[in-house]
């Protein structure tokens, strides 16, 4: 594989902002136009919300000595999950582009691979942000977090945090989808990587309510820190200190964007 990769000609050179913007816009447009995807993701989130916050686990949750309503707890976790799912699935667009041949048009254009990669990453990250915002607005409107005027600026503050978190996730998406040539193997990735990351992120249950061994596993899951920082911003409480969350998420973003960029640069047209 690596030998064949080397036979592609890559344009070196600077980033072209207009190109980056048009590529991101394309991702955003695809997202906005795909109504079923938006609706089904919202429906899925609401389902999780009702099942996990009311029905099965009506335990008291307390973070750092502060009591949190289960509804608010799960809702904030689900908003964080919007980033995970749309980031990874956004990366799927690359598989589609390669399968349906549009990648050829992109690869023969006089733009550097860095420009291409940045455009894609930014586009998918903006998609995730949009999805996250939709979830947050719905949750606020439905009163999951109570009615507190400060929620408005909390949600606004959430956006840059969400962007940081989504960069790492999009890195995962890009890394995976530049290496797959069809959707079939994506099922496996979803079952063995994405779902475990989701379940072990603490989005649906409290970190301090599970056995220690599970806590240790969760500490190795970067998604846990994204979920935690979301709670910090929305609810004002978190399990980990803010600086730990920020540090881990920054490192996660930096490493995965690097790996993603490398995979992207070596990508072949199937």
């Amino acid at each position: 594989m690596s030998r064949k990769v080397s036979s592609y000609v890559k344009i070196e050179g600077r980033m072209r902002w207009e190109a980056i913007w048009v590529l991101s816009k394309r991702e955003l447009l695809a997202f906005v136009r795909n109504k079923t995807r938006i609706i089904s993701s919202i429906a899925q989130a609401l389902l999780f919300l009702f099942v996990f916050s009311g029905g099965f686990f009506s335990i008291d949750i307390s973070i750092d000595g502060v009591d949190v309503s289960p509804m608010a707890f799960v809702a904030s976790g689900i908003i964080a999950m919007a980033i995970l799912f749309s980031g990874v699935f956004g990366g799927l667009g690359i598989i589609r582009d390669r399968m349906f041949g549009f990648m050829r048009e992109l690869l023969v254009a006089p733009i550097s691979r860095r420009t291409l990669m940045t455009g894609k990453t930014l586009g998918v990250a903006l998609q995730s942000l949009l999805q996250c915002l939709i979830m947050a607005v719905i949750s606020v409107a439905m009163g999951f977090f109570g009615y507190d005027p400060s929620l408005i600026w909390r949600i606004i503050l959430l956006m840059p945090i969400a962007l940081l978190f989504s960069l790492g996730v999009v890195g995962i998406g890009l890394t995976i989808s530049t290496r797959l040539t069809d959707f079939q193997s994506f099922g496996l990735i979803q079952t063995f990587l994405i779902m475990p990351m989701f379940w072990l992120s603490g989005a649906l249950f409290a970190f301090n309510s599970v056995p220690e061994i599970m806590q240790i596993i969760m500490m190795f899951n970067p998604i846990s820190y994204g979920v935690d920082i979301f709670r910090y911003v929305i609810l004002g409480v978190s399990f980990f200190p803010l600086w730990v969350n920020l540090l881990v998420l920054s490192a996660f973003a930096a490493i995965l964007i690097l790996i993603g960029a490398n995979s992207f640069s070596n990508m072949q047209i199937s």
């Binding site: 036979s7 447009l29 048009e105």
Partner: protein, 465 residues
């Protein structure tokens, strides 16, 4: 702002002043590591400014690979080229900006509207807003899709998609357009319409166009010059007229029937070649089946192989056929072995089956269909699928009417050969192809033995390096 009319006149003046080369290809070679394929084999050619140039060849000839290298998608293994006076290795960025490419495979985004597809392209090629707005309108009009600009391209028909792709390739005012099989899979009317557009682009915009095709007619109708490619090599390059002229005289096709002993045919061919006025004789079969009678039945593509190489193969074949272990090893090295095997005559298959008698372990290591065939032969269940195709002699001669009687006489003199039909016609491009390559161009003509030939050539090329 570029003025289209102005541009147009300007280019025309340029053209009358100089006949410069817009593309220069030198010793371009491509070996795909994956599968060890020699896809393009040391080709050199030049394109003149303003011409339509056709690369004509069957599937797998290396047309797409050539275009990919010229469009700076693929790195050549050896050799180089300049396009619009930019070197493809040194200035890929500039090459890309100066060319338009329409790929063989679809490359539109179906989830975007036609206009958006064009807009995205224009931005990627760095065009300003006013420039692209005007140009998009212009190219949409050119391919008669201006009323369908708002449609999602996934709802386009095949022909509309193709036209839009051509339009897209034109947005950034390229001086050179590459069209890879632009009419593949389209119905005759749509094909004709696209031909008209191509002619129009060439005549009105003075655009140089390189088109690949495996339709003879397409090359014949469109191209100023035709380059016939096969197995990655250029086998002829000239105007359609000149190519046909080289086969001046007549073409006589004689179909034989009930041929039981194919080994008499080579003898017959050499007898026919002795007749005065006969220029060349080729043998093929109706249905592209080879008739060379060898230890392993070699199909049409290999008939023109040089005798030394042939001998080399046969020598190795003999060795392999005496030792089950060697045979297994050979099948592993040689991806096409099982196809080769299925083409082999029954006698050869039986010999292989004998080789593996009492050698169950080794048998397991063979490819599945080979193993099954051998097991069937060993248990006596095997039935050879008989493909009775009639050999077809294609004879190029100076004056058909004069020479035909002698030809028929010669054939009737040899025992066991009956003539089924005789046809005579003027040389077509198809005949040109046949006489250059030894086989007829067909849509599905790519067969495994040709790959074998390529493999061998490639090994030699590597050893020489």
């Amino acid at each position: 702002m570029r003025d289209y009319q102005y541009n147009y006149r300007n280019k025309r003046e340029n053209k009358t002043k100089m006949t410069e080369n817009i593309v220069e290809v030198k010793n371009l070679t491509k070996i795909y590591d994956e599968g060890d394929v020699l896809a393009v084999d040391d080709i050199s050619l030049t394109l003149k400014k303003g011409e339509i140039f056709a690369l004509l060849g069957p599937n797998g000839a290396g047309k797409t690979t050539t275009i990919s290298m010229l469009a700076t998608l693929l790195k050549p293994t050896k050799g180089t080229a300049t396009v619009n006076s930019y070197n493809i290795d040194e200035d890929p960025d500039k090459v890309r900006k100066s060319i338009g490419v329409v790929f063989q495979e679809p490359s539109l985004d179906g989830d975007m509207k036609a206009e958006e597809n064009l807009e995205l392209h224009a931005i990627l090629y760095g065009m300003s807003k006013s420039e692209r707005r005007e140009k998009i309108k212009e190219v949409l009009k050119l391919v008669n899709l201006d009323d369908k600009a708002e449609m999602y391209t996934k709802n386009y028909s095949g022909g509309m998609k193709r036209r839009l792709e051509i339009a897209r390739g034109l947005i950034h005012n390229p001086q050179m357009l590459f069209l890879d099989e632009p009419t593949l899979g389209l119905d005759p009317q749509t094909r004709r319409k696209i031909w008209e557009k191509i002619k129009q682009l060439n005549e009105e915009l003075k655009m140089t166009i390189l088109i690949t095709t495996h339709y003879m007619e397409e090359a014949d109708v469109l191209a100023d010059r035709i380059c016939i490619m096969d197995h990655g090599k250029i086998i002829a390059l000239d105007t359609s007229e000149n190519l046909k002229h080289q086969l001046s005289g007549d073409i006589i096709e004689i179909e034989l029937e009930n041929v039981h002993n194919l080994s008499m045919i080579p003898q017959l061919i050499s007898q026919l070649k002795e007749i005065k006025g006969i220029k060349d004789v080729k043998i093929g079969a109706k249905g592209d089946q080879g008739v060379a009678d060898m230890t392993m039945n070699l199909p049409a593509g290999m008939k023109n192989m040089n005798p030394q190489m042939m001998q080399m193969i046969q020598q190795q074949m003999k060795e392999i056929m005496t030792d089950a272990k060697k045979f297994v090893r050979a099948t592993k090295k040689f991806p096409m072995a099982s196809n080769f095997f299925s083409r082999a005559p029954l006698e050869a298959k039986e010999r292989v089956a004998n080789l593996f008698k009492g050698n169950k372990d080794l048998l397991e290591e063979l490819p599945k269909n080979m193993k099954e065939t051998i097991l069937k032969i060993q248990s006596g269940e095997y039935e050879e699928k008989q493909k009775n195709e009639n050999p077809l002699l294609t004879i190029s001669c100076e004056n058909g009417a004069k020479q035909i009687t002698e030809i028929i006489q010669k054939i009737s003199n040899s025992d066991n050969l009956n003539i089924k039909s005789v046809q005579m016609h003027n040389p077509t491009l198809e005949d040109v192809f046949l006489f250059y390559t030894g086989r007829e161009i067909r849509e599905e003509s790519s067969n495994n033995t040709e790959d074998v030939k390529k493999l061998i050539q490639m090994r030699q090329l590597r050893q020489n390096k």
